[in-house]
């Protein structure tokens, strides 16, 4: 068959299937990410059909997917929100980092994946899915709840932590020496600070440079700027994703809101391709051997996120039920865990099992996270009732 025809047919079939999966996910009220990953696992490496024709396009698209995911993550919060979030929730943020980075990192060491593997797996288990968390909070009508700002500010902190983590990860994956690694950390800290300062003081200039009333011009400006910055960052050995993320932070105010609206459909398309390509490149036969570990990791890191949210909500003076809700809202892992694992797998310095582990882990967490958030309340209420029967409360005169 004509290679172009083959590419188009394969691509069309894949995107169409993604549409069906997204619809199914919407119907049962879950995140589509695990379904995209599963769809990818069924095909490609070790799957039913190889899908060789779309390889080149899919590879580039998934890179663009990562850039768009990170750009939109940067756009999500304004620089001012990032700074106040950092000031208000750094304690909870640090607890979150320690409690949730360590389990992944420790498991990687136990499985003999070395320091690089530990860096990657720590990141995978650390970062909550802000996309899933925000959707869960909205769907369950919890935006007005008192614990919601607590949850959101932890997500803001994770956002900033990503800005520092990703360059370090890229340096580690590139196998640079300790000194060079330290330099990279120093440079990335300096860049984050400068970008935040610029965004706070001169954010409107950056916004003005890309903004346009005409949505076509605006879209082209945004996409062009994002790819340019990502490419330059990549040329400077900082990850492309980080460049896009920084651009997202620098764009602020009303421009950021309209940018989010305009980029959403593109992000959905390219991110979906990114997830499916990640699945395609993962051999499903590598998953069963790591499934036990993935389940254990999922359980441990669900508990650690729960503790994080519980503690942070308690600090904010929120009642028992609210503390559990805050913890459960943070459990879901998703897009960024796969982004981190994707960067690692692309560099080729981590073992194949890591991709399998990350896939299995995100599959579990993206499904159980929203379920936990939904059912934490009735479960807590049920567990509480026997302890405090109404009769006793009346007798106490409460």
């Amino acid at each position: 068959m004509d290679p172009l025809a083959l590419t188009l047919i394969e691509l069309g079939a894949v995107v169409f299937c993604l549409g069906l999966l997204a619809r199914l996910a919407g119907r049962i009220g879950m995140s589509p990410i695990p379904l995209y990953l599963l769809g990818g696992l069924f095909f490609g490496a070790g799957g039913i059909v190889k899908l060789e024709g779309m390889h080149e396009f899919a590879h580039l698209s998934s890179e663009i997917g990562v850039i768009l995911l990170l750009l939109m993550l940067g756009l999500e919060y304004t620089a001012a929100e990032l700074v106040t979030g950092l000031r208000r929730s750094w304690q909870a943020g640090v607890l979150d980092l320690v409690l949730n980075f360590l389990p992944g990192a420790l498991l990687a060491v136990v499985l003999g994946w070395g320091i690089v593997g530990a860096m990657v797996m720590g990141g995978v288990t650390y970062i909550s899915s802000s996309g899933i968390a925000a959707k869960v909070i909205t769907d369950l009508g919890r935006i007005g709840n008192r614990e919601t700002p607590v949850v959101l500010s932890i997500l803001v902190f994770e956002d900033l932590a990503m800005a520092i983590y990703l360059p370090i990860l890229t340096a580690t994956l590139a196998g640079v020496s300790f000194i060079v690694g330290l330099q990279t950390v120093g440079i990335s800290l300096a860049v984050v600070t400068v970008v935040l300062l610029v965004a706070l003081r001169h954010g409107h200039h950056v916004s003005k440079a890309v903004h346009s009333e005409n949505s076509e011009v605006f879209l082209l400006n945004l996409l062009g700027a994002a790819l340019l910055v990502a490419g330059l960052a990549s040329a400077l050995q900082v990850s492309a994703a980080v460049g896009a993320f920084m651009l997202g932070i620098a764009i602020s105010g009303a421009t950021a809101h309209s940018a989010t609206r305009i980029l959403e459909p593109l992000r959905d398309l390219f991110a979906a391709i990114f997830f499916v390509v990640f699945g395609l490149n993962t051999d499903p036969s590598t998953i069963p051997p790591v499934l036990g570990w993935a389940l254990l990791l999922a359980f441990v890191t669900a508990v650690t996120k729960m503790i994080t949210g519980f503690w942070a909500a308690k600090q904010a003076g929120i009642g028992r039920a609210g503390r559990f809700r805050a913890g459960a809202a943070l459990i879901a892992r998703g897009e960024f865990s796969i982004v981190i694992a994707g960067l690692a797998v692309a560099s080729g310095v981590v073992p194949q099992e890591l991709a399998a582990m990350a896939t299995a882990y995100v599959l579990i967490m993206a499904v159980t996270g929203p379920l936990a958030a939904r059912f934490v309340e009735p479960v807590v209420a049920m567990l509480r009732r026997p302890a405090k029967p109404p009769a006793v409360r009346t007798a106490d005169g409460v």
């Binding site: 935006i143 007005g144 609210g322």
Partner: protein, 160 residues
């Protein structure tokens, strides 16, 4: 009254306060401009029993209702000494003949003896409106007069 304002990063702002009956009530203002009325459940002030999306018109109407109530209560308090004087509120419906007309045209004081002492509009109070004040749909008129005078005034505003 102590209204708490809390940032919701990525979403907007929440403004709420605790009522004397122990429930939290307030609004969430989204970055995109929508407003949501929130009311907590009775047993857990941290959670929300209802989050009701309101359009700008609806929010203004609700503000009028609540603000009008307060104004009417203050006026009733002030007029308690005078027997026979009552305070009442009239809303201007979509089919009122005086909608988009200056209030003077209705000649309410001449015909009923009742006085319009304030107009509540979009949560704002326009005190002592003159005859030139143009009535708009959704306005809440606060009137003071005798029971019969107010009945007449209601009829005028409804049917002309």
């Amino acid at each position: 009254m102590n209204v708490d304002e809390t940032d919701l990063p990525g979403l907007g702002r929440r403004k709420d306060f605790m009522t004397a009956s122990g429930r939290r009530i307030g609004v969430v203002e989204y970055r995109e401009g929508q407003t949501e009325l929130i009311v907590s459940t009775w047993d857990d002030p941290d959670t929300c029993q209802a989050s009701i999306p309101l359009t700008a018109d609806e929010a203004a109407a609700l503000g009028n209702l609540l603000g009008g109530q307060r104004l009417a209560m203050q006026l009733s308090e002030a007029h308690r000494e005078v027997p026979g004087i009552v305070t009442r509120q009239f809303s201007i419906g979509p089919d009122s003949p005086y909608r988009n007309q200056p209030m003077g045209k209705a000649r309410i004081r001449t015909r009923s003896g009742a006085s319009i002492v304030a107009i509540m509009r979009e949560g704002e109070v326009l005190p002592s409106p003159g005859p030139d004040a143009v009535l708009q749909r959704g306005d809440l008129l606060v009137a003071v007069g005798t029971q019969e005078g107010l009945d007449t005034a209601a009829g005028i505003l409804r049917n002309g």
